[in-house]
Symmetry: none
Subunit: 216 residues, 4 copies
DNA sequence: AATGAATGAGTTTTCATTCAT
DNA sequence: GATGAATGAAAACTCATTCAT
């Protein structure tokens, strides 16, 4: 077999896989995994039902691939790089704003994640390790640096990072996925501000505060 | 029909309902609602499948009753009463410790809630209004009081409350429901401390800080 | 649970199982296992498709149970007992006649057996051990006795038994299952006679022949 | 079109057809016709699935061609010729040995034949007439000659022939296709001997026996 | 009230066949 | 001719719900 043809074929197959995964994301987000039939996925993807099975051996496999392919924050590494040299007082608000924007854009995926991850212990474990832990570590590395430099209180950096993600995740759940917008709407600015303030003032070293005070 | 007999019968029926709901909670937490069969619920409850239908007309109804019967924080009102007169510096750590203990005790219910709430937009809305909003308001009332008294920064009290719940909820998810205990274990004290500190320092009015400083 | 009720229920279930197995035998014999749908089995049994799955977990299991439940010669042990004391010259013709009658009565089962046994190595092994070998041994025991007594030539009794079954099985295949009746019909008497003669004269000890001769 | 090119093309196509038929024989023998997919045939043949359909319009057609192309005993006519002039006492053991060798060599085909022939009444009829009956007649002709010459008992020559094929066929089934080799193994010599003896002594004219006796 | 056998609509999965390249 | 992606009809299997006992 000529290598070129094989490569082209693989490229084509990858496109198909994406097409199916995107359709699956839409319909799973809408109705939930168990409540969605393969017919519906196929219809949304514009393919015949049988074609799904050419690319994914089972429905469960389709979900698994979906959860591992679409990451909630694929650009987190770059984001962290871009604020690496900023002190938290400037970096955290920027980070919070960016993460919040991405979370909102991907609320459909978030809906699938929040639902499916907890229906199966194995799925939850994989997600925690492959997605969660990585994100915590990226942020924790940044925090650890600024803890050393004295801009942040010394504390468990992973746990501190989880506080930040926790607040943002919770606002995503309540505002975007649970009709919180109707009962207590918050603008993007408001979310960014409340989270940044809560995190920053909390993590800021008292030394700095007094320093500023003294500086008056 | 003698009233006594009717009352006894109702008591008996209530017992049966509980028996079934508890079984449902166990198996739904383990495998998820859609992946669990009524046979499994019946087996766990020690009843015949048909008996479930004597007490709950449909499987969906069983879930609904489950979600409304078992509340994640039924004792929140009393909890708030007990700290009403404590300033945040003392009240918040106590509150955090208590909520965290309840969350952990009810992680099975949490697993069901987190999953099922998002599989249906209507359910999510109802949950947000009947459970979420009530909890936020209870805490927000407390926060508003102490904002007025100058112990806390003035800010949206609902959003501020959501920050606290957000952190606790996220630690519940990651530590208890997603094998976070294996990848980055945190003791109950550690969770309580990191959340209280983050919240308190973040929400504390600068005035108080300076006041305390001045007072020295 | 009262033991009586459980026993009665088991009896009832056994009846259902038989009902389904008999239907399966009919339709499998007619169209072959792979070509038959569970709908057809259900229709023939007068039950709903789902009911089949109450009693047999898979289609393959239904076939397996069918092959091991319906034996081609369940009465072979009694048959062998009934001729135990007859010398082969009298016993073999009787045996041949009886086996042939049973074979013909059960040609539907034979058709299923002959088809399905060879489509799967595991099935074939099980059948050989559970059905074939047992039958060979029963006949071989009888033959071994009369070999010792000098009425039959000394030879491998199992192989000798297989010769007898081989001839009868082949006549069953060709006469009953392959329209041999149209191309070269043989009466039951003719089959019995040719097989008995072939077997007897072949297995008869030369000593006996000469003895008979001498006796003239 | 030049005749040469057409001939070359046909030769090429014939090669392809063989390639596919041989692959089909292997996989059908292994898993049975219905349980085998065209993908598996293609993979075994080293071709793409679509290519099979260039040469065989349907899967069923592939089976038909397979059954008619590969005969179990294509060399039976020559074999009969070679023993024509031998008396049964010499000819039958030679014939038995030769048939047994061929049967064993083609046990894969036998496995397919034995299974597929019985899954359809029409197929069974055709096979009986085109393969079975021809074989019986070839042997029966030989037997009839030696019956006339007094070396064999007078009897239905077709039925007598079927006895011989029956025994050999049955040993093929049990030894080669049903793991009989594990439960009661027989050497080629043993099979040849037991079948020849059974047939010969059984078919030998008593007159000859007494003649031989007398002759001593 | 309690049971569990029976049901059948609904779902996943398979795979022979087609056809554009 | 050769390919293999796409198809969709058909089949196995599931399970919430019903109902006679």
């Amino acid at each position: 077999m000529p290598r070129v043809a094989a490569a082209r074929r693989e490229q084509y197959a990858a496109g198909r896989r994406d097409q199916i995964l995107e359709a699956a994301l839409r319909v799973f987000a809408d109705k939930g995994f168990a409540e969605t039939t393969m017919d519906e996925v196929a219809a949304d993807a514009g393919l015949a039902k049988g074609s799904l099975y050419v690319y994914f051996p089972t429905k469960e496999d389709l979900l698994r691939k979906l959860l591992s392919r679409f990451t909630l924050l694929p650009e987190l590494p770059q984001l962290m790089d871009s604020i690496r040299e900023m002190p938290p007082r400037k970096g955290i608000p920027k980070l919070v704003t960016q993460i919040w924007r991405r979370f909102r854009e991907r609320r459909e995926l978030a809906r699938v994640v929040v639902r499916e991850i907890h229906s199966n212990a194995e799925r939850a474990r994989i997600f925690n390790e492959e997605v969660g832990l990585r994100a915590y570590r990226l942020l924790a590395d940044y925090l650890a640096v600024w803890m050393k430099r004295g801009d942040l209180k010394r504390a468990d950096p992973i746990a501190t990072a989880q506080c930040l993600f926790g607040m943002l995740w919770f606002f995503l759940l309540s505002q975007e996925l649970m009709s919180g917008k109707e009962t207590h709407p918050l603008s993007d600015q408001a979310v960014g501000k409340v989270v940044s303030q809560m995190f920053l003032a909390g993590a800021a070293a008292p030394a700095q505060l007094s320093a500023r005070k003294r500086g008056r």
